[in-house]
């Protein structure tokens, strides 16, 4: 199996966000909102970090 780096980020973010959403909130609506927020931060953070690495590369 091969994955691109970005698709690996998306899968990692999806799975981790689902678990965080279920475990860190008590009501279903809040679980969904928190999971979506986590997913967005994972992806945005990863893209931002990759740009930072590109900018500081020797």
């Amino acid at each position: 199996m091969t994955l691109s780096h970005f698709s690996a980020v998306l899968l990692f973010s999806l799975f981790a966000s689902v678990v965080f959403g279920i475990t860190q909130r008590a009501e279903p609506k809040k679980m969904v909102r928190f999971a979506a927020l986590c997913f967005a931060w994972f992806v945005v953070g990863s893209v931002a970090a990759s740009w930072v690495m590109w900018l500081i590369k020797p």
Binding site: M1, T2, F15, V18, F20, I22, T23
Partner: protein, 139 residues
């Protein structure tokens, strides 16, 4: 151990299930989502199982490494602790020899991280199920 012995029981579903918090914790660790399933929270159990087993399976499919105990390397020991969080999945992987090939490509290193994080997420899920069973988390 009764549910009341593990703390106050503030959830009707939990009280009805009759499962003790320790049993829920152990079940949740051994089989991802089983702790929530014991408490009758089937949707959460299925989502947790799909996420954790999916992450573990993708890690193995990416040729990620499954850590073994007693290598003497501190980072390997931490990896082993993370992997062990997957419960029966870890023992199955060891039994079938999954994740024993050397990591040669970057994507395989991602696989190693997927396997470790699947174990850590399973611990989080099992502790959440324990909190529900003991009444520390209301619903």
């Amino acid at each position: 151990m009764s549910a009341a012995a593990g703390g106050k029981t503030g959830n009707g579903d939990v009280a009805a299930s009759g499962a003790s918090p320790l049993m829920v914790l152990l079940a949740g660790w051994l089989v991802p989502g089983a702790g929530h399933a014991l408490l009758g929270k089937w949707v959460r159990a299925m989502l947790l199982m799909a996420s954790i087993v999916g992450m573990f399976a993708i890690g193995i499919a990416l040729q990620g490494k499954v850590y073994t105990p007693n290598t003497g390397e501190p980072l390997d020991m931490l990896g082993f602790a993370g992997d062990l969080g997957s419960g029966l999945l870890y023992f199955l992987a060891r039994l079938l020899g999954w994740g024993q090939a050397p990591v040669l490509v970057a994507v395989a290193d991602y696989g190693t991280k997927f396997v470790v994080v699947a174990g850590l997420l399973n611990i989080v899920a099992a502790v959440d199920a324990h909190s529900l069973a003991s009444g520390r988390k209301q619903s």
